[in-house]
């Protein structure tokens, strides 16, 4: 058995180290180390409750608005209020903007450059893919940066800036939209839709959203001159439709009032009980008082703890590791293509397709939300925060389910616990020895001298965000 330590594992958000035990050119065991500790839960304690809206977004520069939304939702729950209808639409719009920008960043800048590697030089698709997706030099980089910056002008209009806005409040949003600005929002979305339809899909968004089976996807992609179809061709050639399954349930808290949340286990929809979430710190360099629900959780670093190999806790739902993310969200929401793909297990192809489905489905929804804004009606209700109270904010970030649990005492934050999407996906072993989803998904893959970069594809197929993981 040979130990391989892969790091710095780059083109992910934040710090990641992948440790593989390899025998006969095959991964026998994998351990995932999140080698950075951030300590945000410690620095939130003792601050005025509303300060969570300033501090929490700064956990992560790529999921910043998702962190805002979770903090605002947790404070609203503690205050027992709901945001103004317009404010809720703005929250959907800015969360949708961030999530879609992240999906695009992941596909073009983080994920696809691996297919430009010389390892694949003999493949029929390689020359075209390398010229388009090579890191920093490929032709797609400038195009996608323009499209991404164009979409993020929605943040300039609705949230002041991105990342790190204070626009999302428990009572709504701080920037009212007039009828003139609605025109500009529509124009930005039209420009973004044009990029997606021309370069990413080579087809109308509605046609992509309407793909209902694996066979339909493959027939649609075959020979189509666009970026996602180019990936599908490479993925089929490399067998990426058959690898990367973690064999764990799929979890989603539900997004935008558009994608229902829940749990899918072994192909069956199950009731999701947030009370069954517990974080196990037995493999983390953190104090461990047994698996604790996040409302009672603790975060206390112990760098010398025996058996620790990461700063990441292991969240479990009724004892199970869960996979979260766009694919999980689409599986749980019951999209027919996601359900058909998952019949043979999660895969690199499935996870990427999940993000593509969201690009195709959420842009039309955003167009509708812009239409539903009511200029002149309130955007933010006055929300008095309680002196004593507790609440949870469960939202979906680009990379999956994000939860904040807080309690307030004498107006100040008494406890603040965060369970981020990649905390689920890249969790370490729990006290029963059950590995986390990525640790399971890597077993059996080729690795070591002369192996293709398969491990790279599987790790990045999750679109990890390590900054959030180690909040």
């Amino acid at each position: 058995m040979t130990r391989l330590v892969l790091g710095p594992f780059n083109r992910v958000e934040g710090d990641l180290e992948v440790i593989l035990e390899v025998d006969g050119g095959v991964v026998r065991e994998a351990r995932i180390n999140s080698p950075l500790f951030r300590g945000f839960e410690m620095l939130l304690v003792g601050r005025p409750a509303a300060d969570a809206l300033v501090v929490a977004p700064r956990i992560c520069g790529i999921c910043s608005v998702a962190q805002s939304a979770a903090a605002a939702a947790a404070l609203a729950a503690a205050a027992g209020i709901a945001p103004a209808a317009n404010g809720l639409l703005v929250r959907h719009l800015v969360q949708g903007t961030e999530n879609l920008a992240d999906h695009l960043t992941h596909f073009y800048l983080f994920f696809m450059p691996d297919f430009a590697r010389p390892d694949y030089a003999g493949r029929p698709w390689h020359a075209a893919v390398a010229s388009r997706f090579a890191a920093l030099r490929g032709g797609a980089a400038a195009e996608v940066l323009a499209a991404r910056a164009g979409l993020l002008r929605i943040m300039g209009l609705l949230a002041g800036r991105w990342p790190h806005t204070l626009a999302l409040q428990p009572g709504g949003s701080t920037r009212a939209v007039g009828s003139g600005e609605r025109v500009r929002l529509r124009s930005i979305l039209r420009e973004f839709r044009a990029f997606l339809e021309r370069r990413l899909f080579g087809d109308a968004l509605e046609a992509v959203a309407g793909l209902a089976t694996r066979d339909a996807l493959l027939a649609w992609a075959d020979g189509r001159d666009a970026d996602f179809p180019a990936f599908v061709a490479a993925a089929l050639d490399l067998g990426l439709d058959r690898i990367g399954d973690a064999g764990v349930p799929f979890l989603s808290y539900g997004a935008y009032g558009l994608f229902p949340g829940g749990l899918v286990q072994a192909g069956e929809a199950r009731v999701f009980d947030p009370g069954a979430i517990a974080e196990d710190a037995s493999s983390a360099w953190l104090a461990d008082d047994g698996p604790l629900h996040p409302a009672r959780g603790e975060t206390l670093p112990l760098a010398d703890k025996a058996g620790g190999y990461t700063w990441c806790k292991a969240p479990r739902l009724a004892g199970d590791a869960c996979e979260v993310g766009a694919f999980a969200r689409q599986v749980v929401a019951g999209h027919p293509l996601a359900r058909d793909l998952v019949a043979s297990g999660a895969s690199v192809l499935g996870r990427v397709t999940g993000r593509m489905l969201e690009l195709a489905r959420v842009v039309p929804a955003m167009e509708a939300w812009v239409g539903a804004l009511q200029p002149g009606e309130p955007f933010c209700l006055v929300a008095g925060l309680p002196e004593e109270g507790a609440g949870a904010g469960l939202v979906e970030a680009a990379r999956g389910s994000l939860g904040h649990w807080l309690s307030i005492r004498r107006g100040r934050i008494e406890r603040y616990q965060i369970v981020a999407p990649t905390t689920w996906n890249f969790s370490p072993r729990d006290r029963a020895g059950n590995p986390g989803p990525l640790e399971r998904a890597l077993v059996g893959l080729p690795a070591g001298d002369g192996a293709p970069p398969t491990v790279q594809h599987v790790v990045r197929s999750f679109d990890p965000c390590m900054a959030c993981t180690v909040h």
Binding site: V5, L6, G7, P8, F9, N10, R11, V12, E13, N33, P35, L36, F37, R38, G39, M42, L43, V45, P48, A50, D51, V54, R58, G61, S64, L109, A135, L136, A142, L145, A146, R148, A149, L152, R153, M155, G156, L158, G160, R161, W162, P163, H164, T165, L166, A167, G171, G172, S173, R175, A176, G178, P301, A303, P375, F379, C380, V382, Q456, A467
Partner: protein, 337 residues
Amino acid sequence: MAVTTPFRVLWVQGGGCGGCTQSLLCAERPLVDELRDAGIEFVWHPALSQETGAEALELLAGCADGTIPFDALCVEGAMLRGPAGSGRFQLLSGSGRPLAEWVGRLARRARWVFAVGSCTAWGGFSANAPGNPLEACGLQYDTDEPGGLLGSEFRAGADLPVVNIAGCPAHPGWIVDTLEMAAQGALTAADLDELGRPLLFAEQLVHHGCSRNEYYEFKASAQKHADLGCLMENLGCKGTQAHADCNLRPWNGSGSCLRGGFACIACTEPGFEAPGHGFQETPKVAGIPIGLPTDMPKAWFVALAALSKSATPRRVRENASADHPVVRPAVRKGRGK
């Protein structure tokens, strides 16, 4: 102008959120085009470069031992020295060594060192957990005290201290323009303020160009979130004290914190993360905000505020506490005089 020798930038990430890179990618002109045409290239960037694992470590080691030449070191994120000086709160993955140690070695090979973002410049939020258990600091500051990882005497090869492109996050234009000035050999000590921040953004106040200036002039204040009025009196805005050009150089096309309807929290200033009051509240003594505008004597401010409040037009007063204009500017007959 044809640039023949590229200006080579090595980028590493410390204890931070990665938001300054995400912000950088929002640059007005696609970053890859702008940097290439300005003669700037990345030796390596953790989020963007092809090289990973052993290949990346080899590059970093070569830069640290001087065998791979580079011009600028950009660091993003606080330096975590804990626990107990070990640096184990952030080991550079794959290397088993503290990131802060790598930064120390790399900084001594660089002609320029840029602290990108307030975590890197001052320590920021990372240094603000009670008792600073992470032992976090900036490159050359511990909050507002000179020192930090590299020490106050540190000078990079081109003889400047660390250049602090502060902000949480830094604006993409601040980063790109500063790098381009350095690449042209045009960034000198005279281009930095007392805290090492490039004057190209730090010689302004956030207040300059604020879209709420008419409300400020008349002290017509917002009372609650989403109100159009000035955010200084009640909602914690520090735009009159914070050094940055956020309202002259828009964010994401047209934005700024103020345009987004929320307070400037002075994120370019050391110590902004611990204001000593709620971020969205204005501390006052006897009803007067204690954080007065930079360069303004208190007596003048009080006198001016009283006068301007008494002279506030109805339009300004009523719109200040609404989330959209309820009184439009009057339309007069004839041309403006």
